[in-house]
């Protein structure tokens, strides 16, 4: 069931028609439409949005850690349509000991590095990602720095040979 | 002055030539050969062959040997390993070589009058003008044939090198 502010928003309506289980929530806070998607239907929804509503660019992929709530991670996608000059935010909530969402690199190849960064910083797995490894931190780094339970200061690290 | 200069250059030439054979790394050998060529160029000058001396430096030392060094660097050639055949040459070859050298020396000594001396300036027709005159009159046909040969060599070299590029 679509939340109130998104009743007239065409992409949301279209996705809802496609599959009622796809959208689990949403809002249009400060004029920015946001859809909460079910991770299982993420790829399907992305494909639809890209084809039907010309969201040909993925501007960024990032995540927010809602620790200690559960599910704790929100993976955030910012889509951009040059044709309609519109932006759209998608969110997937994941949690558990091994959080994972499907990778959208098959839809937008530019999501590659952003998903690597989220993996590096938050430890969220992206299924079917072509090259999922750390991007900013060293390969043998332990922990995921942008998690809320990771200390801002005082982390000790020694380089391995 | 002349004998001193000759002996010095001859010594350099022989030492460089020996070094060419003894050194294991091709770059060392190539530079020794350049040394031989340089000293020979000066000996040519003593014999009055000015043009040949310059050509020796420009063509031999400046082009052919640079090509050698270029190839050695390109292939990153390392020092070689000697095989058994090399040892044979060492055992039997050296005495035989000495024999051959002695024979040639004997023939030279016997065939030429010993008193004939080379003086610097004793032959003054080795300048570019004289060479050019001979080359374009008496030796015109060989000259043209040689230019065709060079053309063939260029084409051949390009064909051979092409093969590995494609």
């Amino acid at each position: 069931m679509l939340p109130e502010p998104l009743r007239d928003y065409a992409p949301a309506v279209a996705l809802e028609e496609l599959n009622p289980a796809m959208i689990v929530g949403g809002h249009a806070d400060r004029g920015e439409p946001t859809l909460y998607l079910n991770p299982d239907h993420l790829l399907e929804a992305c494909q639809k949005l890209k084809e039907r509503f010309a969201f040909i660019r993925i501007s960024s992929v990032t995540a927010v850690d809602r620790y200690p709530e559960e599910p704790r991670f929100e993976v955030v996608y910012h889509l951009h349509s040059l044709e309609n000059n519109a932006r759209l935010r998608l969110k997937c909530q994941v949690g558990g000991p091994a959080p994972a969402v499907p990778s959208v690199t098959s839809v937008w190849s530019g999501a590659n590095w952003y998903e690597r960064e989220v993996f590096d910083m938050f430890g969220v797995e992206f299924r079917d990602h072509p090259d999922l490894r750390r991007i900013l931190m060293p390969d043998d780094w332990e922990g995921h720095p942008l998690r809320k339970d990771y200390p801002t200061h005082g982390h000790k690290y020694s380089y391995k040979d | 002055m002349d004998p001193f200069l000759f002996l010095l250059l001859a010594a350099i030439a022989v030492i460089c030539a020996l070094n060419l054979v003894v050194q294991t790394h091709p770059i060392s050998s190539a530079l020794s050969l350049v040394g031989v060529m340089g000293s020979l160029a000066i000996l040519y000058l003593l014999l009055g062959a000015e043009f040949i001396a310059a050509a020796q430096m420009i063509v031999y030392a400046g082009a052919i040997m640079v090509l050698f060094i270029f190839v050695i660097m390109l292939l990153n050639a390392q020092g070689e390993r000697l095989t058994r055949r090399g040892a044979y040459v060492k055992i039997f070859g050296v005495p035989l070589m000495a024999l051959f050298l002695g024979l040639v020396a004997f023939v030279i000594q016997a065939a030429l009058p010993r008193s004939e001396m080379v003086h610097f300036g004793g032959f003054t027709h080795g300048g570019p003008a004289d060479i050019g005159r001979s080359l374009f009159t008496q030796y015109l046909l060989p000259f043209e044939v040689v230019s065709v040969l060079i053309l063939i060599a260029i084409v051949g070299a390009i064909v051979l090198a092409r093969k590995e590029i494609d």
Partner: protein, 411 residues
Amino acid sequence: MPEVSPEISEEVSTAGTETAETRKRRLTVNMGPQHPSTHGVLRVVIDLDGEVITSAQPDIGYLHTGIEKQCEAINWSQVTTLTDRVDYLANLSNNLVYALAVEKLIGDIEIPPKAQWMRVLLAELQRISSHLVWLGTHALDLGAMSMLFYCFREREQVLKLFEMFSGQRMMTSYIRVGGLALEPPRGWHQRVKNFVDIFPSRIDEYEALLEHNPIWLERTQGVGYISVDDMLAEGVTGPMIRAAGLPWDIRKNEPYSSYDKFDFKVATRTANDVYARYQVRMEEMRQSTRIIQQALEGMPEGPWKADYQHVTLPDREKMKTQMEALIYHFKIVTEGFRVPPGEVYQAVESPRGEIAYYVVSDGTSKPYRVFMRTPSFGNVQSIGTLLKGKLIADSIASMGSMDFVLGDVDR
């Protein structure tokens, strides 16, 4: 540019399946992280087949400073100084996008027109200075070393302007949430006017030096092609994409900070090569000059920061005379202001492309999450596609035409 010791490793691939016919010289060249032409600590692993690049794999993270993590530990107002450090050649654009994002979160804050005009002016000055650095170093990469000095001559003037109003040449932190940090000093506008008066003739000078030079044309024209679709897919933004003929400029498409009140053209070219990117940047510098002129002429009178006592610091006079103002000053300085909960995504056009901050607030005086979508990150991601199938000798010109800043990539 410091010359540092080379890091190059080379290995002939020894794949066993190759036959004598198909065996070719295959090299893996490791360019960087310390190489004079990668402009920072970027490492690119290049596989070569002869002279042709078969694959290029950029490796980043050598300049990772954890700015996003640090933002979560400090006040909303303190973050401004960190944004300077993200893209140190376009710090005012970063200040601007952060300020805009937080103002959008606060919602009912009204930025006075003078502050908006000043923001536009500063962002355009910043664009000029950033493009000048690019032009100088790019020309230096191709061997024209005098260009560097000519470009830095003008950049020096811009930096002097920055120093004049903020006391800092590069890390200005001048655009704050709610307006500006200070009022520009007396005579500053005159200095800016002097600069924009002479600057177009200087652009002509650069063009005269480069565009009539056959070597420059030969090294840039037809070099570094990458298709528009690839660029859009890989997340390339900014002058690169405009040089391919797509007139996408956030200043026009999603106007912010009263850009819609200015008259300027979006520079585009269609050749989609290094030369077109150069032309686009030159044209952008001209347009920026136009914008600055308009901003100077139409500079509105009025306050230079919002009258919003919960966020902006009160005037010195008020603080000394009014108890209430003193309390707000004390609260903002010690504890920081609070921002209503919510999330926004704000994009602006930086000299390098789309720079966007995604800011999440949980209602406290510290940001819950600040995500920086930096243009260089997307641009550098496309290096693999850009270099593939090109000559190794062109890689420096191609990568240079991207104008990436490694601080912007790694954050």
